[in-house]
Assembly symmetry: C2
Homo-oligomer: 464 residues x 2
């Protein structure tokens, strides 16, 4: 049985048993079922609970053995000490895979560690794969599977094929709240990673046709060689963004108490990530920025020369500094571009790159100047990517940055285009909606440039 | 006449003339007047325009000379080439200060540079101080003065005494949109800094009783020695946060074309900022984070030992890494603290710091655990600051992070407390409102720790 088909029992089970199902809203044993029902899980759901007849309209069974059909995936939600026996019962029922959600194993001291070893030994003997322990669960929005122990935050949609491998419910939840329109395709919380590890899931997602971008939250890499082999294959096919935590001594200690993992030396990761073409993120801001860049930006940059249009001279200064810091450069505009825009922008303003179209005093200037400059930069052979500093607030809404950029995007984007600038809340929402059309928005000039640099770095990796 | 009283004519003029006033909404000559009216400017406003009788209900005068009263501050909004003559007319009228808003001077090549020199020479001969040219204007919300050429973004309030010295309308506007509840006290856009420079304004704000925190946006420092002398005095009295742009060669070039300033060597700034106790920000995210920390966080940290409460083990790992990176440490909790919380948090969870109160499955646990842990950390002599990782989304609103933290804040904050975590839009707004009560919110664990480190660094500077 190869890894991909093993994981299919977790990612696309035909039938599911919730052992320790509960009729009490808020309990994990209730949440798993209600989440599966809300996500329109197409397979069978079997609540197991000896004290109740029905849970959320589904017939409950006293024992696993009582379930009339075969069970692909069992999810025990019971005291850790009861898990070994549950695994034995699952083995008798010929359950293929078990996801142990409860904490209290290798994450909780020596006793818990022994219990985890016991569970893993039984499962191995019986040929059952284990996800966790101490996992919030799995999502596969391409298969109607939302098997998580908590009420998910935000709306669950799958816009752009972003899949997460993590050790934390917080990690993917934060992403959902940050990028509600992009959503996620698949999410696997590895928990303590007792059996199924990040390499297997990475391999699975590498082969998964719906996954376009993979985000890895790494507490520890168990088998470095295996990771490097699989990652080097996957990263040729799709971008991997990795947040490696437990970088410091104190962080490594915190990792041990979180999921019992060994965090490993940080220097190793930094070098190997670069060699493997993995985009390393240092915090959730970078995870967000890089992930939405790879998921949405279209096309991706094939060079490092940035053309910029701005309403603020300071924006141009910040961009110049940021290009220098992140290894990009400001394009030298072609003569044709200068010809095209020189009559549109104010006499005092600069037709050099960055093109400063002037203050936002006059929305009509903005409404004429932005489209013309964007058109010129799109056609300029000296420009590889376009950075727009725009203002969403306008006295004439039809000339707002959103409307100008929407029209520009709808004509078909010839160059990768990113946006930053002044935005109120409403304007930010509007601009973010352009991400589905290929234009990505960032909170600062620096983050926009850094994200373009990450994308260009991937281009160089693939051309190597 | 000393600097402070010179600047009073810009910051608290008794009477103002708008030369080139316009009745056309959207034009700078209109915006200046409508902004002053909206801000309830208590002095006299004199529109000057020979072609109209009234503008926005105010009597317009054909010439400066026709104004019946003395004029403290004149704001010419005319073609750059007409400015020298306007300055001469102002001199005859004994105008004390002139703010030249128009661009097209040292920011626009050699010809503009000559024009700027001409204007400055006339003004100097006549004893008139010049703000700009190429400035969006000045705000002094403590004196009802909103003298800017554009319609300001967001609501103008002065919550916490934050004052800005900048070369860009974008800079202060971005701040207003980012921190709408904190607002600003004073804002001076230096523009090309032909006469009044950042040192004079810094000196003014240092002495200004309403200003508690100063934010400097620096394109170039003209007189390093003078800057260091004034900054070293001011920084003992109140925190200065500086964003120095034009750090790279390309950035310095962009600065020259923006305001004609010389950006200078970056290494000089980095060392001198540290010596002077200036908090250096590298982008607008850091400006925001550090400014709201100094403006709102109360008390400020006097040590580097962080106590943390989290709902996510990953949060603890991230905090440990961030403490290591930014020179702070995770506190070793006192035995008393451990005693206080050990029965409240789940058996499997960690009573070591960071205290993980468990998953957010059960809001009642959260509702009981957070207050108890916050109380324990507040009393713990080993803890200098508290980092909260919270979730604003709760099935029981009365147990939401916001409500828990509001009650905690209302009892009186004994330790500096910062918050990060999972938040939806509504939750973020609620959490941000706690900034006025002393608890500051950050988008990531790393940024929360970095801001605490900046605050602790100021403590060390002041104790030195």
């Amino acid at each position: 049985m190869d890894v991909v088909s093993d994981l299919e029992y977790f990612m696309r089970p035909k039938s599911l048993a919730i052992i320790g199902a509960s009729a009490t809203p808020g309990k994990a044993g209730y949440n798993f079922i209600s989440n599966l029902l809300s996500s329109n899980f197409p397979g069978s759901i079997y609540p197991v609970n000896p004290h109740t007849e029905r849970i959320l309209g589904l017939k409950a069974y006293p024992q696993i053995a009582d379930i009339p059909e075969a069970v692909d995936l069992a999810i025990p939600i019971v005291q850790p000490s009861l898990v070994p026996d549950i695994v034995r019962q699952c083995a008798e029922k010929k359950v293929k895979a078990i996801m142990v959600s409860s904490p209290g194993f290798a994450d909780a001291g020596e006793e818990g560690e022994q219990l985890e070893t016991e569970v893993l030994n039984i499962a191995r003997e019986q040929g059952i794969r284990i996800m966790g322990p101490n996992t919030q669960g799995i999502m596969n929005l391409d298969a109607g599977l939302v098997a998580v122990s908590v009420v998910p935050v935000g709306e669950l949609i799958n816009g752009k094929g972003v899949s997460f491998v993590c050790h934390s419910g917080w990690f993917y939840s934060d992403w959902i709240l940050r990028c509600p329109l992009i959503g996620l395709s698949k999410m696997v919380d590895l928990g303590n990673m007792g059996d199924v590890d990040e390499v297997e899931v990475l391999d699975y997602l590498g082969a998964d046709p719906q996954t376009r971008v993979i985000v890895l939250h790494i507490e520890g890499i168990r088998e470095g060689q295996k990771f490097m082999r699989v990652a080097s294959e996957v990263t040729r096919k799709k971008p991997i963004i990795a947040l490696k935590v437990g970088r410091s001594a104190a962080g490594a200690e915190a990792v041990a108490s979180h999921t019992g993992s060994l965090a490993g030396k940080d220097e190793v990761h930094d070098t190997s990530f670069r060699q493997l073409g993995i985009t390393r993120a240092m915090d959730m801001d970078e995870v967000t920025d890089f992930t939405k860049t790879f998921a949405c930006l279209s096309p991706l940059p094939t060079g490092k020369r940035i053309g910029m249009v701005t309403f603020s001279g300071t924006g141009g200064v910040l961009a110049a500094d940021a290009c220098d810091e992140f290894g990009l450069s400001l394009a030298q505009l072609s003569e044709a571009s200068v010809e095209k825009v020189k009559d549109i922008i104010p006499a005092w303003a600069s037709v050099e790159n960055p093109i400063d179209v002037g203050r936002v005093v006059d929305p009509e200037v903005i409404g004429r100047a932005y489209p013309a400059v964007l058109e010129a930069l799109s056609e300029d052979p000296n420009v590889d990517a376009i950075l727009v500093m725009a203002m969403t607030i306008s006295t004439q809404p039809e000339l707002s940055a959103y409307n100008v950029l929407r029209e520009y995007a709808e004509k078909g984007l010839k160059k990768p285009t990113v946006v930053t600038g002044l935005r109120d809340e409403e304007g930010l929402k509007e601009l973010s909606s352009l991400e589905l059309k290929g234009i990505v928005t960032f909170p600062t000039v620096e983050r926009a440039v850094k994200a373009l640099a990450a994308a260009y770095s991937r281009h160089r990796f693939l051309s190597r």
